[in-house]
Every structure is written in structure tokens, then in C-alpha cells.
Amino acid sequence: MRDVAIIGTGMTKFGELWDKSLRDIFVEAALKAIDNSGVKKIDSMYIGNFSGGLFVGQEHLASLLPDYLGVTPIPTTRVESACASGALALKQAFLEVASGFSDIVLAGGVEKMTDIATNEATYGLAAAADREYEAFQGITFPGLYALIARRHMYEYGTTREQLAMVSVKNHKNGAKNPNAQFTFEITMDQVLNSNLIADPLRLLDCSPITDGAAAVIICPAEMAKEYTDKPIKIIGVGHATDTIALTDREDITTLKATVEASKRAYAMAGIKPEDIDLAEVHDCFTIAEICAIEDLGFVKKGEGGKATEEGLTLIDGKIPINPSGGLKSKGHPVGATGIAQVIEVVAQLRGEAGERQVKDAKIGLTHNLGGSGGSVIVHILEVM
């Protein structure tokens, strides 16, 4: 297998993009990535999209998007793994380049969620859970994570305030991110007084419903310098699955797919959690970030809340988490999130993160999770 590098990135602003359709936002992000990389042609595309069908009634993105990007007849593959669709697109693109099958591949993600009412989007999002045994019974995504949060509080003493601190931190970071959906800071009080969504989780514990697209261009590492002075190498890829339903797990506070995927990524990269300089993790809800930093091995199980409280995860902390603002502040267009996480790490490793810059960032990790932990893909990136 050849080494693979990222040579260009591009994304739309994330938010409620009323004026733009699914195909509009994908093409915008893809063109930015192509321009940023300087490539003249691409050999193939991988697109992460959770549900064009449920949100806008559009499938067959594998034809629509290369058509509107003007790159037919190249092969295009739409992949889906709920909220981990974006990272899955990158993983598949990586394999196609690493194997020697293609040279220049675009890995993108797109989701257009605001064309339907919120409660219809809730129905669509529930497709990432077990439709017949969780969603049918009345569960929503905030509900699933609320079940995890309450159990985490019961087993480890994690507090309501510690959850709120995740949100406060991520908004502070997101305020410095021009592409973020929410560029305002929030206070602990605001989080604790925001509307209850699924007790104990409140509005400001939950990532929003967002439109957005993001794309990266990858090529064999040996060609990277033809296109950019700052190529970023993909040194670790880990992918694992777990039960779709929360009820089929022994311990709902440990997301085993995160543990397994990160183990595989660390092994491939030949590094340990301590070697990571920053990570973009999947904070679909505040509790998810707390579980992620435990399950990725950055802190001991049960100590995620404490670590957040002690400031370990701030941009200038011991292990900066979600310098982009995370899903909470940047937004969560489901299929695009995984790619957007990669774009932040690339910017950080290139030293181009502006006010969000983590000092001396050499190795970064992205953690993209589907549903309530049914699938996870972890990537580890390093300055070349």
C-alpha cells in the first residue's frame, strides 16, 4: 500500500443555507477543494451522505453530484454510515489511492437538512437508530444520548455542570471559526437554563440541524509536493462497528466502536493516545465528547467530565479537543461532518488555524461516530 496525503480542502459555511440546494452546496465545497489543491482532474469521488432520500427525496447522488461538478464520466460512490458517512468517504478514498487503483480522489460529504420541518428531521435522524425497536418506541437522538448521560452520571458522578462546560468551550472555539454555524460564545448559565430537550440534556447540549458540505483532495504521498508545500499524511485509519441499539450493549457509557476503531488507527500509525496533539471528536451532544475523550484513551474511563472541568481540553490545554468549535458550534450537517473534522485538523497541522491555532501541532486525530455509536471511523493525520 502506498502512503496517502491530503493536498487540498474546501467547505461551505455551515448553517441554515436557505438559498442553496444539496447539489449547490456540494459543488461549492468540491470546487473550493479542487482549487485549493491545484489539481487539474480527479480520478474518482467518494461522497458521504446520510439521507438525501429522507431529507430532500434525492438518492443517486453517485450520478447527480459528478454531473453537477462537471466531472462525469468518473466513478462516484456514495457511502453511508449515519453521522460517520464523511469519514467513511475518506477511508474508502484512502483505500483507492493506497491500493494504487487511482491517483487523485475527492472525498466529500454533504447534507441538506433544513428543507423539512424539525419534527420531520427528527424522524429522518431516527433512521440512524434501530427504527423498529428504538425509534418506533418514541426515541429521538437527544433521547438516546440523554439515556447515556444519565447512566454516565449515575456510574461515574459526572455532573450537569461538566456537560455544560463542553458546550461553553466549543462555542468559545467556534466563535473564532468563520465557517461555523454559531459564532457566538455562551455561558454556563445559558446552557443550564436553556430549554430541556431530553432530560437531562438541554438545547445547548445538542448540536444543531445544519446544511453544509465539505471536501478534501487526496493523492499518493510521493506526488503530494507537486501540488502543495504543506501536504498532510494520513498515517492511521481505524473503522469499527458496534450494536445499533443501545439496549444490546452491556455498558452504555463505553462506546466500544470508538475504543476498537481508535485502537486500530493507533496501531496502524504506530503511536499511542499520548502522542496526539489535538483531536476533532464527535460531540453530537455534550455527553458524546465526554465519552469520546475517555474511549479514545485520552483520559481514564469516567474521568471525561473532570478532565473537561480542569481545562485539559481547551485549545491551550493538555489535549485540545474540537478547536473548530465541534459539532455543537460549527454545526452538524450529518454526512459532511467527518470531512469538516479532517479539514480542521489539516488547517491546524498546516499552521493555518488563525485564532484557533494549537501550538506545535504535528499529529492530529479525527473521530467520527454514527448513530449512538454503531459505527466509528478514526483518522490520524501527520505533518509530512
Partner: protein
């Protein structure tokens, strides 16, 4: 718009939703709800039908305040993961209770209730919810 209540699917789920039918791996004894074709633990493909116990305890719970459209008239409602007496866990609503009475560890009993309807003219999907057990 597709709803969760379509005729063949609702009918096919009766053994589980009406009668709590699970299956048990004959080789290693693991119980699956809903029933499976292959045991995820020992990979055996031989099962026998078993009925789940109707009592258990609350493993975790939440109050759903922003449900998807089919549950609008019930909002807000309590939803729990219930650990039944045979250690199988279910996702189910908790009804006939004050939210403040919910606690991890409290005993509950499963009851037969309406879960969803396909509007006022469509079919009714019945199934299981739970109530706090009297001590």
C-alpha cells in the same frame, strides 16, 4: 411521507410487540429480542422461541420533549431502557407516572398500549410500554 406504521411491517412485528417473543440460542443460551438468525455471541444458527419476562427495573431514563411528529400529542413523555428480569434490555415508554417518581433501579411492569397510529384513518400499532410496579 413514509411513516413508521405501514401495514405489512406492523403485522409482521405482532409476535414481538404483542407477545414479547424473543429467541434463545440453543448452544450458548443468549436471548435475543428481536429474534435473530445467527447468534452474535457463538455464531450458532439454532434457536428456540422464548417469551420475555414482563417485569424488570429501570436501567436509565429520559423525558422526551421534542419527539418526531408521530408522537406529538404524547409530548412530553418518559422513555426508559428497562432491564428485564432475564437481563434482556428494552427501550420503552413509562406511562401512568409522575416524572419525579422515575429513578434508576425502580421496578417496572410491561403493559399493552397503543404506540402509534397512522393518522385518524390509518391502522393502529399496539405494543408494549411499562408502568412503575406497585411495591
Amino acid at each position: 411521507m413514509v411513516t413508521g406504521v405501514t401495514v405489512p411491517k406492523t403485522w409482521r412485528e405482532y409476535p414481538q410487540r404483542y407477545r414479547l417473543e424473543a429467541n434463545q440460542c440453543i448452544k450458548c443460551g443468549k436471548v435475543f429480542f428481536p429474534p435473530r438468525l445467527i447468534c452474535s455471541k457463538c455464531k450458532s444458527r439454532e434457536f428456540k422461541i422464548v417469551k420475555l419476562p414482563e417485569e424488570g427495573k429501570i436501567f436509565s431514563f429520559t423525558i422526551i420533549r421534542t419527539p418526531s411528529s408521530e408522537f406529538k400529542e404524547y409530548s412530553p413523555f418518559a422513555l426508559a431502557i428497562v432491564e428485564l428480569d432475564n437481563e434482556v434490555k428494552l427501550t420503552t415508554q413509562v406511562v401512568d407516572c409522575d416524572f419525579k417518581d422515575l429513578e434508576i433501579g425502580k421496578r417496572v411492569k410491561l403493559v399493552f398500549r397503543k404506540i402509534q397510529e397512522d393518522g385518524p384513518a390509518g391502522i393502529i400499532a399496539y405494543g408494549y410500554k411499562c408502568v412503575l410496579a406497585k411495591l
